[in-house]
């Protein structure tokens, strides 16, 4: 995949080195633990992502340049997935963000199954809300 930042390339390498699901899960937890979470005060109903059983908040920081999403989630593994998603799009402008092939990104990490529509973990819903926020921007 073209245009991956060095950190993203490193993440791909780390995930692809995982032999077993346990290692992948532990790595995902580490990524989740590193995520700068949306402060409590911003976890408002307006910022909630609809359509996930797990509560997820998502905010697009309009002031930031380059654009910056902030997220928070109650579930640790989902937090890891969100951190990886942000890793992929950080530094991009709105047009580039919309063009990112998220499915390909998670496939590269060996995490495709987490994106399937039947998953209630909310990643798909987060993507939709991101697109909506970018469209408003």
């Amino acid at each position: 995949m073209s245009g991956l930042s060095r950190a993203a390339q490193q993440a791909v390498h780390d995930f692809q080195s995982c032999q077993q699901w346990e290692q992948r899960a532990r790595l995902l937890l580490q990524w989740g633990a590193q995520l700068d979470e949306l402060p409590e005060a911003l976890r408002t109903p307006d910022n909630l992502v609809h359509g996930c059983e797990t509560r997820v908040w998502l905010l697009l920081d309009q002031q930031a340049d380059p654009l910056c999403f902030q997220v928070a989630s109650e579930a640790r593994l989902l937090r890891g997935l969100l951190a990886l998603l942000l890793l992929r799009i950080t530094g991009l402008n709105a047009k580039q963000m919309v063009e990112v092939d998220v499915a390909e990104w998670f496939a590269l990490l060996g995490l495709s199954r987490q994106l399937s529509p039947s998953r209630s973990n909310g990643l798909t819903a987060v993507l939709l809300k991101m697109q909506a926020l970018l469209a408003q921007n």
Binding site: W21, E22, A25, E53, T54, E74, A75, R76, L78, N121
Partner: protein
């Protein structure tokens, strides 16, 4: 854990899932199908199809005979009286929606509908929306600390304004079966219609609608080892005439001109359009097969599995919702989000349900964002339970 299931061999789906390294512990959502159900479906289609009730030709007669024979055999399974009615629906959800609309014209502002605190959305939302539209009061009957309905309290809530008491015979979250007869008897005395949501209960104990003495009873075939998209609404003789026609179309009409129409009585008057004949015939065949088995042995097997799951969860310090005594158990691991645990169980090929289980108000009232649910059926065995617990232990180790 040596708990073999002598019935497992009859379920190709559970064997196929096992080959895919999947352990099915989500039968409360939908059950795997026995060979007899699959064979009946296939035979029905193989022999040539026809519509029921409308045609004069022989294939039509054959389809109609099979369809009506299925109706009587399902009535027999429900232990219905000869004068009672079995209406085919798409499932429990449709059955309850039908009732909430077909009874609506009887209600006036201030009348009451009573449900329990643990109802599935299917037995909450139709009544809630009816109450909102007609200015009725929806009374929610509370549970005690075990998650059981407080029957005495519920009886005291009844009044002459009570029009419907709609209760699930087995909660899909708490997994507790209790005797509802005293409440149903009191409701009838108060002049209310009684509705039993049998979606979860029916598969674990053959219903006896006469003994239960409810006015209406609904269940879904797919949770009863039967096909998708079919359900049953049972109505007692004296209650069925209270229903007003609710959906309109072919098959349900006696006479019709451009400006008005006269409709058939139940059941046909409540089955507009082409029914799911193949599925209905296959559902009846499934129930016939179930009745040919040793129901006592099945109940004992399921009880042993249930006890094994309960004990294992308790030993591991899991927080169990209520005091379940049948078929399913919902729980959380302390300090761990249910979706994290569900994801790691899923990684290990354990199919359990996680979330709010279509009972958001219940989970909110318990102060929970969600829970995991293990649910059991006759084809599960000790290996399934063992696989579940080893996967749980692995997941807990990673998340702790």
């Amino acid at each position: 854990m040596f708990l073999p299931s002598p019935w497992r061999q009859f379920f190709p789906g559970i064997l196929a899932l096992a080959e895919q390294q999947q352990t099915w512990l989500d039968s409360a959502a939908t059950a795997q199908k026995p060979q007899v159900m699959i064979d009946t479906l296939s035979q029905y289609y193989q022999q040539g199809v026809a519509n029921v009730h409308r045609a004069q030709h022989q294939p039509g007669e054959r389809a109609t005979r099979a369809f009506e024979a299925a109706r009587s055999s399902i009535a027999d399974w429900l232990q219905a009286d000869a004068n009672d009615t079995v209406i085919f629906t798409k499932g429990s959800t449709e059955g309850i929606n039908l009732l909430s609309q077909a009874l609506a014209h009887h209600f006036q502002a201030g009348d009451e509908i009573l449900i329990s605190a643990y109802e599935h959305h299917a037995n909450l939302l139709p009544w809630q929306q009816l109450a909102r539209a007609r200015d009725l009061t929806l009374k929610v009957l509370p549970m005690d600390k075990h998650g059981h309905l407080d029957i005495d309290y519920a009886i005291r809530q009844l009044s002459t304004r009570s029009k419907v008491v709609a209760i699930s015979a087995l909660s899909n979250v708490i997994g507790h079966r209790q005797s509802l007869q005293p409440l149903l008897a009191a409701a009838r005395k108060a002049g209310a219609w009684t509705v039993i949501d049998g979606a979860q209960a029916a598969v674990h104990q053959r219903p006896n609608v006469q003994q239960l003495d409810c006015d209406f009873f609904v269940c879904s075939a797919h949770k009863l080892y039967g096909p998708d998209g079919v359900g049953v609404l049972f109505a007692r003789q004296h209650a069925v005439t209270a229903l007003r026609h609710w959906q309109f179309g072919g098959e349900m009409v006696r006479r019709c001109d451009y400006q008005q129409a006269e409709f058939l009585p139940a059941p046909l008057g409540f089955e507009p359009g082409t029914p799911s004949t193949a599925n209905i015939v296959a559902f009846a065949a499934t129930l016939d097969w179930l009745q040919s088995l040793d129901s006592q042995a099945i109940a004992e097997h399921e009880a042993r599995l249930h006890a094994a799951v309960l004990t294992g969860l308790q030993e591991r310090g899991m927080q169990i919702i209520g005091s379940p005594n049948c078929a399913l158990i919902s729980f959380n691991a302390p300090q761990i989000h249910h979706s994290d645990l569900a994801l790691l169980l899923g990684e290990q090929g354990v199919a359990v349900r996680a979330g709010h289980h279509c009972a958001m108000p219940l989970l909110q009232s318990l102060g929970l964002a969600g829970a995991l649910r293990v649910s059991l059926a006759m084809y599960n065995n000790g290996d399934d339970i063992q696989h579940f617990f080893s996967a749980l232990d692995q997941a807990l180790e990673i998340l702790q």
